[in-house]
Symmetry: C2
C-alpha cells in the first residue's frame, strides 16, 4: 500500500484481524476432508474487502460490530465459494489463486464442487446461528439480501453470462451486457456487504440507500481495476495467473485501458459523493474508494 | 403404485400439484440461460418426496399449508441442486436423470455448476421472501435447519465421504461410514423436511422430536431401497442409469440384498412407532413409510 493510505492500511489490518479470528473459529474442531477443503480456501488469504466494508459501514454508523461479524464472515464464505467454483476446469480452469494452488488442484474437482456448496450453506447457517442482539426481522433482511445478491439475479447471474460470453464466440458483448456481468459477478456481493452492515447497524432507509449506492459504484470500479491489473500485471504480484482474461468480456478489452481508468475514476467520485451526508465519519470508506482506484494488486 | 396405496397415491398427487404450481411460479418471467438451466432440472419431475413430507406433516398437525409451501419448495430446490452437482462428470458422471439428459448434458458443465449454486441461494431467498403468517423466529429456525441439513455436517458431508469412498480404493467403508454417508447424503434433507413442516405448524418440542425420528428412519430406509432398486432395476423404469452403484458404498453392496431389506423393514417399523402419538391423523405418513419399502422405482 502506498504512503497515502497508511491510515487506511492500519484500519484494514485491524478489521481483517477481527474477521479472520471469527471466520476461522467456525472451522474449529471440524476435521473431515470436506471441512479441510473448505477451510483451505477460507485460509488462503485475500483482501477480505467485502467483510471489511461491512464492518467499516457499521463503524461509520456507530453500530455494534459484534452484531455484524457473523454476517461479514458469511459474506466472505460466499465470496470464497465463488472463487472455488470459478477456478474449476470447466469454468476458468485456473491453477493458482491468492498465490496458492486452487482448491481442485489440491482436493480434486469433485471435492472442490462440494466444498463450494458447503460454503454457501455454511454462510446462511452462520448468520442464523450466531447473529445476536438484533431484531429477528433484521436477520431475515440480511439473509434475503445475501441470498438475492449471491443468486441467479446477482452473482450467479453475472458468472453465467460471463461463461456464455467467453465460451460462445457468436455471443456479442455490448455495453449493457458488460455492465450486467460486472455489476452482478463482483458488484452484487460488494453492494450487499455495505447494505448488510447498514441493516445490522439500524440505519435509516435513506442511509441504507446512500451506502448501497456507494458500494454499487466502488464494486464496479473494483472489477474494472481488477481487469486492468490483469492486463498489466504479473502473476507474481497478483497471486493468480495474469493475462488470463485476454478473451473475456472486460472493461479494458472493451474500452481500452485509458477509457477504463476514466470510467473507474468517475465511479469512485460518484461513490464518494454518497458519503457527504455522513461527514467525517466516512473517512475510511472515502479512503477505501480512492485506494480501490490506486491499488496495484 | 400398487393397489394397497391408492389412497396415498391420490394424496401424493394432490400435494405434488400444490408444490409444483408454487415451485414453478418462482421461475416465471425469468428468462436468462441460467434460469432456464435451473428450471430445466426443477421441471424434470421426480417424486417430490421431501416437500410432500413437509406438507403431510403440516396436515397431520392441522397447520396452515400456505405457511409451509415456500419452505417445501426451497427443500426441493436444494434437493434438485444436489442431483445436478452429483451428476457432473467429475462426480457421478451420469447422463440420465429422471428419464431425461442430465443438466450438464444439456447446458454444459460450467452452467450446470452455476445452476446448482443458483438453486441453493434461491432456496434461502424463497424462504425469506415468501414465508408469511408465522413468527420471524420460526422462519429463522427453518433457515438454520435447512442450511445445516444441506451443509458440510449434513448432505454435503455425506456426498463428500461418498466421493472419497468411491474414488479412493484404499478407503475402507465400515458400518459407521456407511451409515454416515446415507444418513447425511439423503437422510439429512428428508429429516429436515419433516422438522420444517413441524416448526411452521407450531408443533411442540415433543412433536418435533417424534416427527424428526420418523423422518430419520424413513430417510435411511428410502436410501437403502433406492440402492436395492439400483442393483435389481432397469434403466427404463428407474429413469436413471441402473447398476451404476456397483462399486459404491451402499447397503446392498455391504450387507447383500436380503439383509438390506430386513434393515429397511426395521427402520420403517421404527419410523411408524413414532407416529402412535398422533393417532389417526398420521394415516398418510404411515402409508408413506410402508410405500417407501414397497416401491419399485
Amino acid at each position: 500500500m502506498t504512503s497515502n493510505f497508511l491510515d487506511l492500511d492500519k484500519y484494514i489490518k485491524r478489521k481483517t484481524l477481527i474477521i479472520e479470528k471469527n471466520l476461522y473459529s467456525y472451522f474449529e474442531n471440524k476435521n473431515t476432508i470436506l471441512w479441510q477443503a473448505m477451510n483451505y480456501s477460507i485460509r488462503a488469504g485475500g483482501k477480505r474487502l467485502r467483510p471489511v466494508i461491512a464492518l467499516a459501514v457499521c463503524e461509520m454508523l456507530e453500530g455494534n460490530e459484534e452484531v455484524v461479524i457473523p454476517s461479514a464472515c458469511a459474506i466472505e464464505m460466499i465470496h470464497t465459494q465463488s472463487l472455488i467454483h470459478d477456478d474449476l476446469p470447466s469454468i476458468d480452469n485456473d491453477d493458482l489463486r491468492r498465490g496458492k494452488p486452487t482448491n481442485h488442484k489440491v482436493y480434486g474437482e469433485a471435492m472442490a464442487i462440494i466444498a463450494g456448496d458447503g460454503l454457501i450453506t455454511l454462510a446462511f447457517y452462520t448468520i442464523c446461528k450466531y447473529t445476536k442482539n438484533t431484531e429477528y426481522i433484521n436477520i431475515l433482511k440480511v439473509i434475503e439480501e445475501l441470498s438475492y445478491a449471491a443468486g441467479p439475479d446477482g452473482m450467479c447471474g453475472g458468472q453465467a453470462i460471463d461463461i456464455i460470453a467467453e465460451k460462445n464466440k457468436e455471443f456479442i458483448v455490448d455495453e449493457n451486457i458488460l455492465n450486467y456481468i460486472h455489476s452482478n459477478k463482483t458488484g452484487a456481493i460488494i453492494k450487499a456487504s455495505g447494505k448488510i452492515g447498514a441493516i445490522l447497524s439500524n440505519a435509516s432507509e435513506n442511509e441504507i440507500e446512500l451506502i448501497t449506492s456507494y458500494c454499487k459504484n466502488i464494486g464496479l470500479a473494483f472489477q474494472i481495476i481488477d481487469d486492468i491489473l490483469d492486463v498489466k500485471g504479473e502473476t507474481r504480484i497478483l497471486g493468480k495467473t495474469a493475462r488470463k482474461d485476454i478473451n473475456k468480456a472486460t472493461f479494458p478489452n472493451f474500452y481500452g485501458i485509458e477509457k477504463s481508468i476514466k470510467i473507474a475514476k468517475e465511479l469512485v467520485e460518484n461513490a464518494i459523493s454518497n458519503l457527504d451526508y455522513f461527514g467525517n465519519k466516512a473517512k475510511y470508506l472515502i479512503d477505501l474508494a480512492y485506494y480501490i482506484l490506486e491499488r496495484n494488486y
